[in-house]
Symmetry: D2
Subunit: 162 residues, 4 copies
């Protein structure tokens, strides 16, 4: 089984700019995370964009959907900011991509910082994508949700079932 | 779905003793790892033993099998040293525990050290255990293997399909 | 020799707020850093304020000077944001506090993030404060500068001699 | 001022071998530590040997003394295992190297593991070496000791004044 990881940015990949004291995007950490996880899956990681998901508009979502539909793999993991992850899941479901299992995941804390949940979530998403039937899912907090049965609780920062 | 994690030691939970310069076991890191992964699954972690899996004998394996069979949960993750993980998987399969999905996982580097694969593997094992049909599995390197279709390649340190 | 550490905030002590995605101050990390450095000096850490040094005004500087002058110790380390560290060093020098060695230090990356220079700088500042003659100094980048012979190069983020 | 760092191994530079589960030496971490500390001192790091200081014999100590005496710099930091650090300090003092400040330091936990005191100690040693008068010193636990006024307390792992 071949897996495609589509990188779109999000907290997952944010870094600290020591000159400005602000968070920014440079390169994705996904390849380093795969090495650290000693991942031996047949994975291709591809950076679609590097954005804060609050800045993601319809055109950006169209790009993500186009890559998820267009790539050769039937197992697709998408790293995504948590704020609008569910919205992008809806856009992917609306596109009715046949025969593909698509799992969105992200992080509450940047991987570059010591206490990130990113590595846990990546291990989780890569596992779910191998065994779940075709469809669009969100994998966060160790759980998986169908795209239409989940929301982010903005007060707690956690994803919960609808 | 309720999940039981049976902690048995292994590299996963080793720590560095700064007085002797040797690795040893103190408490398990699983609760801290679950917090860091912002895990919201209904998980109970239980320490069965804290041993290097090279030191695990038949009696030790009987204990692990007994807890996996005896606990109330039908989803069981076992943290285990990688050296004899496959052997314990065989012991679990031989016990023919009905209706339970049992996933063994571990780490190549202790979680207490910065570069561990443990968090990735825990995220992976907790995900597989939710969706795989009853049976005994090994989850390492992002992959899952049925107990009778896997071996550890001691030269590379990786698990591979038989 | 007794040493007083005056905590004033700065990048040193910033943390990541996973709900808002912004950096903020909670408690100082200095006690944890001293434990990690296995520091056995007779040190008392005291939080004077927790501010970004760009937000520090004359009244704030007066508070810092007052504590540096008023504490019983003759060796004083001040953790401080790097942006206006030199300005506070000038305020301390202007106060002409007799018989005290005062060393300001900080960090370019928060200690809570993996790649921080904070632990290196704290080890450096605590060492300089034990051996330098009375006066006001900045300790950054492994170096020490007298208060009137240093500036922060805002382009490189480094401190350099005047 | 130019500083020479002589790397001799010790806990400081130990790494975890994930195939054997044992600690071993590969390359020194000192250059990475200097980068992380944003160190701007004129430092040259040189690996003299990579050994556990318990394995260091008279011939090994002669090599260290020869490099400390022979290098062009008058400020020398030596990274060294803590177990026989004091013994090497005695050998250096016995050599009566004129006009040089020599500071030995080490770590209780390998730098490659998350919780190491190494970065703190390196910042400390590099600071002491700039300001202490010629002589041989041990810098550990934030403190500095003259070579003949210190011992390692093997029960606590700490260095203490004689």
């Amino acid at each position: 089984m071949r897996i495609r990881i589509l990188v779109t940015g999000g907290t997952f990949d944010k870094e600290y700019d020591e000159l400005t004291g602000r968070l920014f995007f440079k390169d994705t950490h996904v390849p380093e995370m795969l090495r650290r996880g000693r991942c031996l899956l047949d994975v291709t990681a591809e950076t679609v964009m590097m954005v804060d998901s609050l800045d993601l508009d319809d055109e950006g979502r169209r790009q993500i959907v186009a890559r998820a539909a267009g790539c050769a793999e039937t197992a697709v993991v998408i790293s995504h900011g948590t704020d609008t992850m569910v919205q992008t899941a809806h856009a992917l479901a609306a596109a009715e991509i046949p025969g593909k299992t698509i799992v969105l995941t992200g992080a509450m804390v940047p991987y570059a910082f010591g206490s990130s949940d990113g590595l846990f979530n990546l291990g989780s998403a890569l596992s779910f994508v191998q065994v779940l039937p075709p469809g669009v899912y969100v994998a966060m907090n160790g759980q998986q949700f169908r795209w239409d049965r989940v929301r982010k609780n903005t007060a707690s920062g956690c994803f919960e079932a609808l």
